[in-house]
C-alpha cells in the first residue's frame, strides 16, 4: 500500500508541476484559468489519496473546502474575463 501511494503521489506531483509550468509559461488568461482549474482538482486528488492512506478524516474536510474554492475561483475568473472583454 505504501508503494502504491508513493507512486500515486509522484504521478500527482508530476501533473501539478506540468500545470504550474503551463501557468508560468507565457499564455493567455483563459489558458491560465484552465490550468488553475486542473491544479485544484489535482490537489483534491492528492488530498483524497493521502486521506485514504492515513485514514484521517480531517484531510477530507480540506478536500471539501478545496473543491468549493476551485469552483468559486474558476467562476470568478470567468466573470472577470467576460467583463474585461465586454468593455473593450
Amino acid at each position: 500500500m505504501k508503494l502504491v501511494v508513493t507512486i500515486c503521489l509522484g504521478l500527482l506531483v508530476l501533473a501539478g508541476a506540468l500545470g504550474v509550468a503551463r501557468i508560468v509559461r507565457r499564455s493567455t488568461l483563459g489558458d491560465r484559468a484552465i490550468a488553475f482549474d486542473m491544479l485544484t482538482s489535482v490537489l483534491t486528488c492528492s488530498l483524497l489519496v493521502s486521506a485514504g492512506y492515513l485514514r484521517d478524516g480531517l484531510l477530507l474536510d480540506l478536500a471539501i473546502v478545496l473543491g468549493l474554492l476551485g469552483f468559486i475561483a474558476s467562476v470568478t475568473i470567468a466573470r472577470f474575463i467576460e467583463a474585461r472583454d465586454g468593455s473593450e
Partner: protein, 98 residues
C-alpha cells in the same frame, strides 16, 4: 485469516482506483501542453478532472470504516460533479472561440 483476506482485497481495490485516478491527472496535464487551442485544452482538463477525483474518492472511501468519513467523501464527489461542469461552462463561454 478471513479478516486478512478482506484487508488485502480492500487494499488492492483501493490501489487500482487511486492509480487510475492519478494516471488520469497526468494525462490531463500532458494534454494542456500538447493540444492546440484553448477549447481543446479545456477538453483535456475537464473530463479527467471529474473522473480522476471520482476514482481517487472511491479509492479513499474503500479505506474508511466510519460512515461519517464516507459521507464526507460523498460530499467531495458531489461538489466536484456539480462545480466542475459549471465552472468549465462559464470559462468556455468567457474565452469564446479563441
Amino acid at each position: 485469516m478471513m479478516n486478512d483476506v478482506f484487508s488485502t482485497l480492500r487494499d488492492v481495490l483501493s490501489a487500482v482506483f487511486m492509480l487510475s485516478g492519478s494516471l488520469l491527472a497526468v494525462v490531463s496535464s500532458i494534454g494542456i501542453h500538447r493540444l492546440g487551442s484553448t477549447r481543446a485544452r479545456m477538453h483535456a482538463t475537464t473530463k479527467p478532472a471529474t473522473l480522476g477525483v471520482l476514482l481517487c474518492a472511491v479509492g479513499a472511501a474503500t479505506q474508511f470504516v466510519d460512515v461519517s468519513d464516507i459521507a464526507k467523501v460523498l460530499v467531495v464527489v458531489i461538489l466536484q460533479l456539480v462545480g466542475a461542469p459549471i465552472g468549465a461552462h462559464m470559462l468556455g463561454r468567457a474565452v469564446g472561440g479563441k
